[in-house]
Structure formats: C-alpha cells, structure tokens
C-alpha cells in the first residue's frame, strides 16, 4: 500500500492486518523483541549506569563517525529518518552524550520545530530556542546547559507556521556558522525526510547527514526513498544507523551472543567514564 506524502514522494506501508500478523509472528512466535513505546527519555539516555551493550554501541557509532572524516574540524551533523518514531531523537541525544563524555564540547539543536522532543529528554527550563531566533524574536541564540558536562542544547522553541522557510533562511546558515566556532560537534535533530521538506533544505548546510533506521519498523521502500531524497539534494550522507536492533533477529551480527556472556556486562561498570573520573 502506498500513500503520497507532502513531499511529493510516496510513503509505503503494509496493510494493517498484514502488519499485525507479521508483528505477531515475529514477537509472539519467533520471540523477536519489538520497539517499546516509551516517552520516558530519562531511562533511555546514556549515563554511567547504562548497560554495557548500549554504551558500547554508541561508542562504536562515535568511533565510526570519527572515521568517516566528517569530524575533522568543528562538524555539524544532521540526523533524520525516513518516517517519524524511528528513534532519531534518542539516537541524537545519546550520540551527543557519548561525544560529550569523550570530552568534546557538544551542542544539540532541535531542528524538528514541528514536533520538538529534545526538551522532553533533558528537561531544560527555557522553552525559547531555534524558532524564536530564526524568526527574529530573539537576537541571540538561546543555548542552555543540560546538566551534563560538555553538552549543550538549543531547543526548537514555539512551533512556527513556516518551519521550512525559517530553516532555509540565511539566518539559519549564519547561526550554524557562528556556532561551529564554539562547539566541537553540533548535532542537528531534523524532522523525518519522508514526511516534510524541512530536512531537505537543511541538508546542504550541514557537513553530513545520518539516517536513523528503526529495526522492525522502517519500511525498506521508505528508507530507499529517504536516501534518494538526500542524494537528490546532494547531501553528504555519512551513513546509516540501525536502531533498536533485535538480538534474536540476528541483526546484532557477530555480537549477537553478548547476552549469554553475563560477565561482559560488568565491564561497563569500570569503563571509560569511571576511569576518566579516577584520573
């Protein structure tokens, strides 16, 4: 089944009953875990007590990102997904935390002004942010501390009626260029590219784009369409992040057997952050 989205493209979705049966077969019969619908970001954000596997996954992501060459200097990285609810906000937050933990001065800009979510994650007090700056209400960008070392946040602000126009404005470009000097890494959390055109206008302003794909949720055709859209905008695609990978689906690859080695989990307790603190 295919629907046309506002972007002129096609949005693919399986018929509802097929989706339900396939999900039932995978979850109940094949026992493949599915995504948990949870808005409680506090439990999902990386911290020193986070599980070893998760910490390691984000560390791996950070390392791979460094190896792409996009982070040679003060880099601006955009994160998007094909469709909503694929975990890009959480990935963006945790990746930024991972960089901050590594000592990089990191900024998250919530570029999804239509559906701001970063503010929920960090619980920052000030609700003014990107939209106020881009629309000229605020002369200076409102950047807040997140309560974590080296990590700063610029929330989306009040939802404006013309998000795409604001993001495409020269003021956005100026903002990114000015912030580039101050921060080692800037992560731009963008709306899903398969639904709205906001991401496409920002794609050329950033150094690289990352596409977040939700395992067991993202439709292959939507992902292909998202990549095609980014390619069309001549965006620099750094790579793809597979989120919510199930161990039992075999998607965890060679490391799929982590769960069996219980003692591996204990490595997380005295890993990098703890060592850094001791020093």
């Amino acid at each position: 089944m295919q629907k046309h989205n506002g972007n002129g493209g096609k949005q693919f979705q399986m018929p509802g009953f097929c989706r339900k049966i396939a999900s039932y077969v995978r979850t109940r019969i094949l026992h493949i875990p599915q995504r948990i619908e949870c808005e409680d970001y506090d439990k999902k954000l990386l911290n020193e007590d986070s599980a070893f596997g998760v910490m390691e996954a984000y560390r791996m992501l950070r390392t791979n990102l460094l190896y792409t060459g996009a982070l040679a200097d003060h880099a601006i990285i955009g994160l998007t997904s094909a469709m909503p609810n694929e975990g890009k906000t959480l990935t963006c937050m945790n990746l930024a935390i991972s960089f901050a933990m590594a000592g990089k001065k990191t900024l998250i800009i919530d570029g999804d002004m239509r559906n701001p979510s970063q503010i929920k994650g960090f619980g920052t007090p000030i609700h003014l942010g990107l939209s106020e700056y881009l629309s000229g209400i605020r002369k200076d960008p409102v950047i807040q501390k997140t309560g974590r070392d080296n990590l700063f946040l610029m929330v989306a602000g009040k939802r404006p009626p013309n998000t795409a126009e604001l993001l495409a404005s020269p003021r956005m470009k100026e903002l990114l260029e000015s912030l580039r000097e101050e921060y080692d890494v800037i992560f731009l959390d963008l709306p899903p590219i398969g639904l709205v055109s906001d991401t496409m206008v920002v794609a050329e302003m950033v150094d690289g784009m990352m596409l977040v794909v939700q395992a067991g949720e993202s439709d292959a055709r939507n992902v292909q369409a998202a990549i095609a859209s980014l390619e069309q905008m001549k965006a620099h695609i750094l790579g793809v992040v597979l989120n919510n990978v199930s161990q039992k689906a075999g998607g965890y690859g060679r490391y799929g057997r982590y769960g069996k080695y219980g003692k591996y989990g204990s490595y997380g307790a005295y890993d990098a952050p703890a060592e850094a603190n001791e020093k």
């Binding site: 998760v54 792409t68 395992a215 055709r221 992902v223 793809v240 597979l242 989120n243």
Partner: protein
Amino acid sequence: MEISLKDLWKALRKAWVWMLLCALLFGGAAYVYNSVFVKKQYSSSITFGLRLKTAPTEVGAYSQSVAVANAILPQLMTILVKDKTAEDLLQYCADKVEWAEAKAAEADAAGDAEAAAEYRAIVKDYTLSKKYTGLSLAGSTSIDYDSVTKTNYNMCIKVTYRTDSPQDCAVLCHAMSEHINSVLETFSPLYVFKPYTEIYTGTKVAPNARNQAMLFGFVGLLIPYVVAFIAVLVDRRIYTEDALRSICPNYAILGQIPTIEIQQEEKQHAEA
C-alpha cells in the same frame, strides 16, 4: 527475507494451539456445511456380464473369447456412457411410462382392476422425479473384476448412475437392464450381454462429510503456517544489518543500537 520456511515451521510448531484451533474450525465448518447445505447424491449400480453365445468347443477357444471381450471392451464402455445412450435411456423410460399408462387405461376400460394395478406399478417404476438430459446424467462404467472372478462371464461391466434422488438412479439402472440388449445387438451378435446382479439402490455417496471434514481439517492445520509465511513474506520492514546493507549498499552502517530488552537484560547481568 531473513526467516526461512524451516525456521517458521519450527516456530509455528510451538504455536500448536493456533494450528489445532484452525484445524478444528475448518474441519467442523466443512462437516456442518456438507451435512446441512450440500445436496445429497445417491448412487445405483448394475453389473452386466459379457459371454459368448455359443460355448467354445475347440481348445483355446475360451481364452480366445476372453481376448475378444477385452478387445471390444473400450468400445462397449464408451457406448454405455455416451450421451446418446443416456438420451435413449430417458426416452425408453418415457415410452415405457406412456405405454403402461395407455395399458392401464385400457385395463380400466375393460374392468380388469388387477391388470390396471400392474400397469400402474410399471408407471411408478419408470417415472423419474426430475427431468434429466443426456448430459446431466452422471453415468459411469467400470470393469468389475470381482464379478469376473466370481462368475463365468468373460467380462463384467458395472454401470453406475448418480443422482440426487435414490429412486431415480434405481429407475435408470432398471431401464438400463432392459434397454441394454438393443445396444448390444448393434454391437456384436456373438455375445450374450445381460445384467446378472441386483440393482443396488439408494446408497448415499456424496457428500462424505467425514472425509471432507478431515480434508479441511488438514487444510486448516496449514492455514496458520501459510498466513504467517505470506505475512512475513510481504513484510518489507528492515530487521537486520544485512537487510539494511542490501538496501543502501553505497553507505556505511555506522552503528547498531540494541533494543531496550537487551539493555535491561545486560543490566541485570551487570548487577548480578
């Protein structure tokens, strides 16, 4: 698709309750449908024997007659089932009824009540409850080997009629037993061809609700498997790194973030 048929089969075996439920549901539905809604069919059959008119005198003549009977058998069977024969049979029944009615009327006029009753019995015997055509008559022939071994006929042919009325198929068999001589005369004057069995009437042959229930029960057993397989087959969602790599081969897979379940599991391990 990263799930093979074998994996799915193994997994579905665990969901045996669903499979059993589907089997029972399909089997039960088939049984009820066949018992209540499907029109019942009855069958009557009659066996004819084929034998040389004159007894063989020379050595080997008997086996020769068997060989001849075997040679003419296909033609004979074709004649017995073809539409023209069925139409002749129906016409025979109609003529017989007409003749018996006329005779009964004559007997009534003559005041012979006994003869009139006999003729009316013939009318009853040859009256079909429904109107058939040559094409709609489901006649079939087969070689009755059991009868060949039991009797001294060179060949035995069983003719079966199947209709939704037990009386009608009996009437047809009865008419066939009388009508067949005329068929044989045109066929071969050397052979005796006559019915020797009783006409089996009113045997219900269809629908066989029990067999249908078993068949559909088996189909029902496979339904969850087929549905699950199709659902997984048309599922275009990405589950694994390999699937993602095949979709965007030009870009790196920067990382894989495990599920919350795994996080919790590992956390428990860490705590332990």
